[in-house]
């Protein structure tokens, strides 16, 4: 395995992809993080026909229309936002603001929010942009506070969210803040000042990592404990574990004399795979293996979650 850090920057992701394919001559790509980074790498993926498995993004961009070389494990952002909006409306929060990152990821989230609200004949009370990897959120928080929403749906990464929430609270606004899974739940819990942690919601696309009743979670916990006694459980590492397990199953199913074409065919034809309470299935018409979405909330000051 060869790995490189793209610092969540599309240009760097593109350069890394080129090196993976041309210099390292990799068989396939795995676990790219972010919509903009995947978007920047897609032309290379298509040109060299290299499979990309389990990108850590729920963007429609790599789901509709189906990208033959891209295999998503997780549910889409639209599905996460639909679940979040359903929950918010069910419990009386009808006035929803959207704060989205000014890139492909953020715009995808905004579109998902508009869609979920439009189905219920609603629209965001305000939609405000924030820049990627930016902590400059005062103006965005001010605009949201002026709209006095019941809830704020954020489509951004943890650094920006961790800056936005204190700015919003300092303006006296106590709206329920919800995030999509990409925010990085554990990183968000660490980045937020302790007094602003309680009550922040995050939708998740994998089971609760502290719930060993789900067999795949129990396997994951055992693996983590076996390898690192000081390791903490988390949503991102569980997603990595699930994705890697699925990849290994597919490689095993493809058998010896592995080729990219054979791997692609195997992924589409191997049928349902149950990793233990977390069913996955790819097909020629379905390049997204899971529809699982669950809401979680940060509680207290120590960064614990409830689900």
């Amino acid at each position: 395995m060869v790995y490189r850090d793209d610092r969540y920057e599309p240009e760097l992701a593109k350069r890394n992809t080129e090196r993976f394919i041309r210099s390292d001559k990799v068989f396939g790509l795995f676990g790219y993080v972010g919509t903009a980074t995947v978007k920047a790498s897609l032309p290379l993926i298509n040109r060299y026909r290299v499979p990309l498995v389990a990108p850590l993004t729920g963007a429609q961009l790599i789901r509709q229309p189906i990208k033959p070389l891209v295999f998503n494990i997780r549910a889409s952002y639209h599905q996460e936002i639909e679940a979040t909006v359903r929950y918010l409306l069910r419990y009386g929060r009808r006035s929803i603001a959207v704060v989205y990152q000014n890139d492909a990821f953020g715009r995808d989230g905004l579109e998902g929010a508009r869609k979920a609200l439009a189905v219920r004949r609603l629209q965001p009370v305000v939609a405000v942009t924030v820049e990627r990897n930016s902590a400059d959120t005062f103006e965005a928080a001010r605009r949201v506070a002026l709209a006095r929403p019941d809830a704020v749906l954020m489509v951004s990464s943890y650094g920006t969210v961790a800056s936005f929430i204190p700015n919003l609270r300092r303006q006296g606004n106590q709206a329920q803040v919800m995030n999509v899974s990409f925010v990085g739940s554990n990183a968000l819990a660490r980045a937020l000042p302790p007094e602003y942690r309680h009550g922040v919601g995050v939708s998740q696309v994998v089971p609760f990592p502290w719930n060993p009743r789900v067999p795949v979670v129990r396997d994951y916990q055992n693996t983590i404990r076996r390898n690192r006694s000081d390791a903490r459980y988390g949503f991102s590492s569980l997603e990595g574990y699930i994705s890697a397990t699925m990849l290994v199953r597919a490689l095993q199913a493809a058998g010896p004399n592995l080729t990219r074409e054979r791997f692609l065919t195997t992924m589409e034809t191997m049928g349902p795979v149950d990793l233990g309470g977390f069913p996955l299935r790819f097909s020629a018409q379905q390049h997204q293996a899971s529809d699982f979405v669950e809401l979680t909330f940060l509680v207290g000051r120590d960064g614990a979650f409830i689900h």
């Binding site: 359903r86 929950y87 069910r90 419990y91 309680h198 009550g199 609760f208 990592p209 502290w210 459980y233 669950e294 809401l295 979680t296 909330f297 509680v299 207290g300 000051r301 120590d302 614990a304 979650f305 409830i306 689900h307």
Partner: protein
Amino acid sequence: MAATRVLDDILLNTGVLILYLGFVFLTFVALLLARWVKARGNIQIQAALLSPMGSLYTLTTAFLLSNVIFQFTNLRGALTQEVVTINKLGAVMSVLPADQRIEGRRLLYDYGESIARDEALTMRSGVRSEVTQESIDRLRDFLSTKDASPAKSIEVTPESVNYFRKASDFGFDLIDARERRLSLAAPQPFPVRLVLAIGVMYLALALLSFLVQSGAWTTLWVAIILLLSAPVPAVMLFVYSNPIASGLIDITSTLEAVLARSL
């Protein structure tokens, strides 16, 4: 009203010091009284009297100490009961469908957080928190709706069986536990009789100690020893009157322990 609050704050923050200064005052009164008595003529008091006098003083302070321990045990028990009930209710909600479960748990842990952040502070002055009241009202509203009911197709397991009875019991237990905590933690009016009893016993013991000693150096050391022993009843009296403000039990950290666990 504002003046009363300021006075309350002063008493809360300097209560032990004020009580200790009272003991210092009594020590000097005893010293001056002993000098006055000695100056009026030769007085023959047996040193052996110190022992029964000391025992009487010990009994009085032991009575105070036993009351403080009893109060601490009860308050600790009430708080533990509340924490256990929060945990039980959070666990029993696991049988609810996803959206209902997360809403129920969110309300429950909002309640826990409101105690840790708000009521733990207002309780210092014996006042219940409006924020916590609102939190528990919301939780009770939730528990009184169909949203707190599991799906009809729920599997029967040891955890899900009797869900309604358990959820109902834990819900009411939570209210009971809060009321018990608030009641036990309420600051008590200044315990005049107890303070008088201990003050008089202390004054008698100090007077006797000075009367049976002679010489400036010995008297100085008797005074120092008496003053060194005085903080114990001063602290006990303060803790007895203000179980929460005294820091005897840290409600915030106890509740934080519940909120530190991912569920």
